[in-house]
């Protein structure tokens, strides 16, 4: 596991812990424009959020807190998530859904 992958899992686990209404976190992969190289990019499915489309929020790296890469968070409702999976709601910049980052207590993380 490389450093970015480790930081991605670390940040996702903290988000799961703080917001129990998050049912699923997946990484986001980049296409051609506005790539996500050296960035942690997470799509978070939150039952408590508002349906308002895709709004990527960007955060700076905080190495002192174990997150040495900038991060991008996209939060969606479960319904929006289903629309994304059916390709009815598109992620911007040719981004695509990456692997699931499971909760730490849900078994194998690799």
């Amino acid at each position: 596991m490389d450093e970015r992958e480790a930081a991605t899992r670390r940040l996702a686990q903290r988000h799961y812990l703080i917001e129990p209404a998050i049912s699923e976190i997946r990484t986001i992969g980049s296409g051609t424009a506005f790539g996500l190289n050296d960035t942690i990019a997470l799509l978070e499915v939150n039952q408590n959020t508002i349906a308002s489309g895709i709004m990527p929020l960007r955060f700076d790296a905080v190495p002192a807190s174990g997150i040495p890469f900038p991060s991008v968070i996209v939060e969606v409702t479960p319904d929006e998530y289903e629309q994304i999976k059916r390709n009815e709601l598109k992620l911007p910049y040719d981004w695509s859904l990456g692997p699931l980052v499971p909760r730490a207590n849900e078994g194998n993380h690799d």
Binding site: I18, E19, M55, L57, R58, F59
Partner: protein
């Protein structure tokens, strides 16, 4: 400052800091109506959210400037990130996150253009009519946003302010 995404984020954060500190300065002045104090808090939170939206390469800051319905969706994400990056997060972080989601919606409703489909016309700028009665912001108490006395309120305010300062670094 060049107009790149990082600087747009810093510019929104700097203005958010000024708004937040204006809110803070007014707290001790009982002659100032609650609506004016909350107006600064609403603007600070809105700009904090827009700062993170504008930092994303490819985002159009002009699109974000004209809309005011960002706080309810995004303030909770920012507070979650802030709690995630705090070396020793408060033990009641789950409670704070839950409170934040409720308060973020109340803050967003302070803007006159956000009224939950006409169900929440109360706002901190213009008089409104509800149930045949007329209300004035300057005499309204906004009980849902008495954050300095509400449980978890002060912790949330600190998290908001620290999130603003982190963006300016």
């Amino acid at each position: 400052m060049n107009a790149n995404p990082g600087n747009w984020g810093r510019a929104f954060a700097k203005q958010a800091q000024a708004d937040f500190e204006a809110w803070s300065t007014l707290q001790g002045n009982k002659a100032i109506p609650v609506c004016h104090k909350l107006h600064f808090l609403q603007m600070a939170c809105e700009k904090l959210c827009k700062a993170h939206l504008c930092k994303q390469p490819g985002a159009d800051p002009k699109v974000h400037q004209s809309c005011h319905a960002y706080t309810a969706k995004n303030l909770g994400i920012i507070i979650r990130q802030q709690l995630s990056l705090t070396p020793r997060p408060p033990k009641n972080h789950e409670y704070l996150q839950d409170r934040c989601n409720l308060i973020a919606r109340e803050i967003e409703l302070l803007h006159p253009s956000v009224d939950n489909g006409g169900k929440r016309p109360d706002n901190c700028e213009y008089p409104w009519e509800q149930g045949g009665n007329l209300y004035v912001p300057a005499t309204w108490t906004f009980p849902a946003l008495n954050l300095l006395e509400a449980q978890g309120g002060r912790a949330l305010l600190k998290l908001i302010y620290n999130a603003i300062l982190r963006l300016e670094a």
